[in-house]
C-alpha cells in the first residue's frame, strides 16, 4: 500500500485491522472451501467466481467510466466461443484459447467504442443491444463454426497436458479471480482509475485537466471486454459445453443487476453483487419467472433508492462515523508558498494574442472580429454586460469551442482549434463559471487531478505498483495537499466536493488549476456565488498567483474585485470590443458606463 499523504480511503485507516482480518478470513474460507463443500456447492462457487470476473470487467466500463452498455452477455459469449473453437476445432492449448478470446472480445469492444466518444446514454445502450442480438444470430446461425443452437462440446479441460480434477478447476479459476482482482486494484488505485471516474463525472472538466476523453473511453471498454473475455474462456473450458441460450438478454440483465446491487465504481461491489444475485435464485427454484420478476423489481427500486449500491451505502455509513476528520499525520512538511508555482518570463511579451476571433451560432454572431492581447504576468479582466460574449470568448481560447474565424496565439504558438487536453500541456489552466469538480472523487483527488499531466508511469506500472508509481503518487498527493493548504482548505481533503460551499468549491477549482503549473490561468466568474469575505480571500489569492508570474485572464462581474486587482481591462459588448486599457482608464470611460448603465454619452 503506497503511503499517500492522506489515506486513499479514510475508513480503511481507522478500521484497517478489521479489514485485514476480514480479507484474510475470506481468503482462507475460499482456499478451504473445496474440502468442506459438496459437489453442488463447489460448482456454485466456481460459477460465482466466473461471474465475479465478468462483473469486475463490466464495472470498469459501466461503473467507473460511466458507459452503460448492454452487450456484456454477448462479449462473454464471444469469449467463450472463441476460446472453445480454438481449443476444440484448432486443437490449441487452453491459454492460447484464452488469448484468442481476449483478442476477439477486444475487437468487439472497438466496434462498440467507435461511436462511444460522440454519443451518450441511449445510443450506446442501443448499439450494444444491437450487438447483443447480432452475436446471438451468429452463434445460432453460423452452424459450421459454432454448431448452432444445439450447443458446442469441448474436450475435458487440461492445462499443460494435465487433465484437471474438479478441485483443480476450482483453484485455477480462483487463481484467475485473484489475478483479475489484483489487476483491477492496481488499475483503479492509479491515476487511470481516477481518470475513468473523471470522464464519467464531467467530460469538459476531464478534458480541462488533460484527459483525452475518447481515448480513455476506448481503453475502458477494451480492458472491460478483455476481462470478460477471460471469464468467457474460463467458463467454456470449465463447463465443457456451451450453447447460445446462455449468452442472451437475461445474462446481460443478470450482470447489470450485480453491478447495480453491489455498487458501481467500487472494488468490492462486483463480488458482493454477484454473491447476492447468485443466492437470490436459490429461493425461487420452483418458479424461474418469479425470480426474473424479483430481478426486475430490484433493478427499478435499487436504482432509485440506493443509487450507490450496497458498497455505496457502506461507504456513506463509514463516512458518517468517520466524519471525514481523519487525515494522516503528515509529520513536518516544509512551509509552503506560492513561490513553488513561479513561472519564468521567457517568450513574447504578449503571452496571449487573439486576432480577429469570430464565432457564429447559426445566424447569431456571439463574438465578432475580436482582438485581444494579454500581457505576461498581469491580471487581465474581461468585462461586459450579460450576453456580451465573454464566456464564448474564453471557451474559444481554451479549446472547448472552435472559432468560425480568427486565430489564437499562445506564447508564440498558434493554438487555434486545439483540444483542451492539448492546451493543458502548453500551460493553460482554467476554472468554470458553474463549478465543475469531479463529484465522485474527494477534494484532494480533485486537486491531484490537476497534476495528472506530470505522471509518467504507464499501465503496467499502475498494475504492478511499480516504484515509480508509488513515488509519483506520493509526490502528487503531497503537492495536492500543499496546494489545498495555500487556499486554506487542507482540513477538507477527505470531503466530497459536494459537501463544500460554492465558495470553497471555487477555491478547490483554483487549486486544481494551480496544480497544472500553468503559465496562463483563465478564471470564468470566480466570484459568482461567493459572499463578501470569500471575495476578499479570493482576490488575495489571485494577487498572489499573479505575483509569481502566472498570467490571469478573468471574466468577472463583481466590479470591486475587477477594479481592485486588474492591471488591464477589456470591455466587450455585442461580441465586440468597446473599450480597453488600464483599470484607471476604463473606469472613467463613458462608453463603459453606457454599456453597463445605459447612460447616454454626455462627455464627448
Amino acid at each position: 500500500m503506497p503511503s499517500f499523504s492522506t489515506e486513499t480511503c479514510p475508513l480503511r485507516k481507522k478500521y484497517s485491522l478489521w479489514f485485514t482480518i476480514l480479507k484474510l478470513a475470506l481468503l482462507f474460507i475460499c482456499l478451504a472451501f473445496p474440502f468442506m463443500a459438496g459437489n453442488y456447492y463447489l460448482r456454485f462457487a466456481i460459477v460465482l467466481f466466473i461471474y465475479i470476473i465478468v462483473s469486475i470487467g463490466y464495472d470498469i466500463s459501466s461503473g467507473y467510466c460511466g458507459m452503460l452498455t448492454l452487450s456484456a452477455a454477448a462479449i462473454f459469449g464471444a469469449g467463450a466461443y472463441a476460446s472453445a473453437i480454438t481449443v476444440t476445432t484448432l486443437k490449441m492449448p487452453f491459454l492460447v484459447g484464452m488469448l484468442v478470446a481476449m483478442v476477439v472480445t477486444g475487437l468487439i469492444s472497438f466496434l462498440i467504442s467507435l461511436p462511444a466518444y460522440k454519443v451518450k446514454g441511449n445510443y450506446l445502450a442501443l448499439i450494444s443491444l444491437g450487438i447483443l442480438e447480432i452475436v446471438q444470430r451468429i452463434l445460432n446461425d453460423w452452424t459450421s463454426l459454432t454448431h448452432g443452437a444445439a450447443g458446442f462440446f469441448l474436450p475435458p479441460w487440461s492445462i499443460f497436458g494435465m487433465n484437471l480434477t474438479d478441485y483443480a478447476k476450482y483453484y485455477v479459476i480462483f487463481f484467475f479471480l485473484i489475478l483479475i482482482m489484483l489487476f483491477e486494484w492496481g488499475l483503479i488505485k492509479s491515476h487511470w482509475g481516477r481518470d475513468f471516474i473523471a470522464v464519467k463525472n464531467d467530460e469538459i472538466a476531464a478534458s480541462g485537466v488533460g484527459i483525452n476523453n475518447r481515448k480513455f473511453k476506448v481503453i475502458a471498454l477494451l480492458i472491460s471486454s478483455m476481462i470478460i473475455g477471460v471469464a468467457g474462456s474460463l467458463y467454456a473450458s470449465y463447463s465443457e459445453f456451451i450453447s447460445p441460450d446462455t449468452f442472451g438478454f437475461y445474462l446481460t440483465i443478470f450482470i447489470l443487476l450485480t453491478v447495480v446491487i453491489g455498487g458501481t465504481g467500487t472494488l468490492s461491489g462486483p463480488a458482493i453483487g454477484v454473491t447476492i444475485v447468485m443466492i437470490i435464485p436459490e429461493f425461487f427454484n420452483a418458479s424461474p419467472d418469479l425470480k426474473q420478476i424479483v430481478f426486475g423489481g430490484l433493478l427499478i427500486i435499487l436504482t432509485q433508492v440506493m443509487p450507490g449500491g450496497i458498497t455505496g451505502r457502506i461507504k456513506e455509513r463509514f463516512r458518517a462515523i468517520d466524519d471525514n476528520r481523519h487525515i494522516e499525520n503528515l509529520g513536518d512538511r516544509p512551509p509552503i508558498s506560492f513561490e513553488k508555482y513561479r513561472v519564468n518570463a521567457d517568450g513574447p511579451e504578449n503571452i496571449l494574442e487573439v486576432k480577429n476571433l469570430t464565432r457564429r451560432f447559426g445566424g447569431l454572431t456571439a463574438v465578432g472580429n475580436l482582438d485581444l492581447e494579454v500581457k505576461r504576468g498581469t491580471v487581465h479582466s474581461l468585462i461586459g454586460p450579460n450576453g456580451a460574449g465573454k464566456t464564448t470568448t474564453v471557451n474559444l481560447i481554451t479549446g472547448i469551442d472552435k472559432p468560425s474565424e480568427g486565430s489564437v496565439i499562445f506564447n508564440g504558438e498558434d493554438i487555434t482549434g486545439m483540444e483542451p487536453f492539448d492546451l493543458v500541456k502548453r500551460g493553460i489552466a482554467r476554472t468554470y463559471q458553474h463549478v465543475r469538480l469531479f463529484k465522485d472523487l474527494r477534494v484532494i483527488d480533485n486537486v491531484a487531478m490537476g497534476g495528472r499531466i506530470y505522471y509518467t508511469y504507464g499501465l503496467a506500472g499502475a498494475i504492478f505498483h511499480s516504484r515509480k508509481k508509488r513515488k509519483e503518487e506520493k509526490e502528487a498527493y503531497l503537492e495536492a495537499y500543499d496546494c489545498l493548504k495555500l487556499i486554506g482548505l487542507e482540513s477538507k481533503s477527505n470531503f466530497d466536493p459536494g459537501s463544500l460551499s460554492t465558495g470553497q468549491q471555487k477555491l478547490v477549482e483554483i487549486a486544481r488549476a494551480l496544480c497544472e503549473k500553468p503559465k496562463l490561468m483563465v478564471l470564468d466568474e470566480p466570484c459568482a456565488g461567493l459572499n463578501e469575505t470569500e471575495v476578499e480571500e479570493l482576490s488575495e489569492i489571485i494577487k498572489k498567483i499573479r505575483d509569481v508570474g502566472i498570467t490571469v485572464l478573468m471574466i468577472e462581474h463583481h466590479m470591486s474585485i475587477v477594479m481592485g486587482i486588474s492591471d488591464y481591462i477589456t470591455v466587450i459588448d455585442y461580441g465586440k470590443k468597446i473599450a480597453e486599457g488600464t483599470t484607471a482608464e476604463v473606469s472613467v470611460d463613458p462608453v463603459v458606463r453606457k454599456a453597463y448603465l445605459g447612460e447616454e454619452v454626455t462627455a464627448c
Partner: protein, 295 residues
C-alpha cells in the same frame, strides 16, 4: 408484389412502435426500452379477452388498450418520474429494462409459455391483387398504421394539446410559464404510447402468434426504426418503420432468414455511427445544447 405488401405490413408494425417510442422521447428525451413488452402485453390481453371471455376482436382490443395505457402510466410513475434530470443520468435505462423483465415474466406466469394462435382480422381472408395472394389482415395493418400516423400528426400540428406537446418537447420550463403542466403532458404521451402499443400488439399477434416472447426481435427493430427516423421526431420515426420493413422484405429474397434478422441491427448501428446528426431531428438537437453553451 407479395414481398412489397409483406414488407409494408411488417413495416407498419415497426412504424407504430417507432411512433410510440418517439412520442415518449420527444417530450422526455428518453427511449422507452420497455415498449416492446407493453406491445406484447397488449397482444396477450386481447388474446385472453377473446379466448377466455369470448369477446370479439374490437371490444377485446379496447380492453387491451385500457390495460396498456394503465401499464404505461404506472411505468412512468415508478420508473421515470423520480429520477430527476433525465438528460443527465442513465438510471432510466436500468429501470425501464427492469420494467420490461417484470412485464415479460408476468405474462409468462399468467398466460404460460406456449405460443397461442391469434385470430386474423376478417378471418384470414385472402384477396388477389396484381396476381399476388394477399391477406386482408395485412392490408388492414398497413391502413390502420397509416391512419394512426396521420391522426397523430394532425393532433400534434393542429390542436391545443399538440401545441403543448411540442412546447414541452422544446422548452419544458418556458412551457410552465405558459401555464402548461409539463408533467401532465408527458404523462399523456406515455398514455398515448400505451394505446398505440396495444393496437400494434393485436395486429402483429396473428403473424407471430401470441406469446411472452413474441416481441423479442420486433421490439429491437422498433428501436432501429426510431433511430433511422431520429429520436423525438415522430414523423421521421414513423417513416423509418416503413423503410425498415421494405428493406427487410427485399433483402430476405437474397439472404437466409437468420441473417435477415440481423440486418436491421446492422443498419441501426451504421446509422448511429455515421449519421447521428443526420437522423437527429432539430428538436432532439436543441435539447442537447452544444458543449460550449453548457459551460
Amino acid at each position: 408484389m407479395q414481398q412489397l405488401i409483406f414488407g409494408l405490413a411488417n413495416g407498419s408494425i415497426y412504424a407504430l412502435m417507432a411512433l410510440a417510442i418517439g412520442m415518449v422521447s420527444s417530450t422526455t428525451g428518453i427511449v422507452n426500452f420497455a415498449h416492446a413488452s407493453v406491445v406484447m402485453m397488449g397482444a396477450m390481453v386481447s388474446w385472453w379477452m377473446m379466448v377466455i371471455y369470448g369477446l370479439s376482436y374490437i371490444p377485446a382490443l379496447f380492453v387491451a388498450i385500457a390495460v396498456s395505457i394503465v401499464l404505461n402510466i404506472v411505468m412512468y410513475e415508478t420508473c421515470v418520474k423520480k429520477l430527476g434530470d433525465l438528460q443527465d443520468n442513465v438510471g432510466w435505462i436500468i429501470t425501464l429494462f427492469g420494467a420490461s423483465i417484470i412485464l415479460d415474466n408476468i405474462a409468462r406466469m399468467l398466460f404460460g409459455t406456449e405460443p397461442q394462435a391469434f385470430p386474423y382480422l376478417f378471418g384470414g381472408k385472402m384477396v388477389t391483387f396484381f396476381g399476388a395472394n394477399i391477406m386482408l389482415h395485412e392490408l388492414m395493418m398497413i391502413t390502420i398504421a397509416v391512419v394512426i400516423g396521420v391522426v397523430y400528426q394532425t393532433i400534434i400540428k393542429k390542436t391545443r394539446f399538440g401545441r403543448a406537446v411540442r412546447a414541452v418537447a422544446f422548452r419544458p420550463a418556458t412551457s410552465e410559464l405558459m401555464g402548461i403542466k409539463s408533467e401532465k403532458i408527458i404523462l399523456s404521451c406515455f398514455a398515448m404510447a400505451g394505446a398505440v402499443a396495444a393496437i400494434g400488439g393485436a395486429l402483429i399477434a396473428p403473424i407471430t402468434f401470441a406469446s411472452y416472447t413474441m416481441t423479442y426481435s420486433i421490439g429491437l427493430k422498433g428501436f432501429a426504426a426510431a433511430v433511422l427516423g431520429g429520436f423525438g421526431n415522430t414523423k421521421g420515426a414513423f417513416i423509418g418503420g416503413f423503410i425498415l420493413g421494405l428493406i427487410e422484405a427485399f433483402i430476405s429474397i437474397f439472404v437466409p432468414a437468420g441473417i435477415k434478422d440481423s440486418i436491421s441491427f446492422v443498419i441501426m448501428i451504421i446509422v448511429i455511427i455515421f449519421l447521428p446528426e443526420g437522423i437527429m431531428s432539430a428538436k432532439f438537437f436543441n435539447r442537447n445544447l452544444s458543449a460550449a453553451e453548457k459551460v
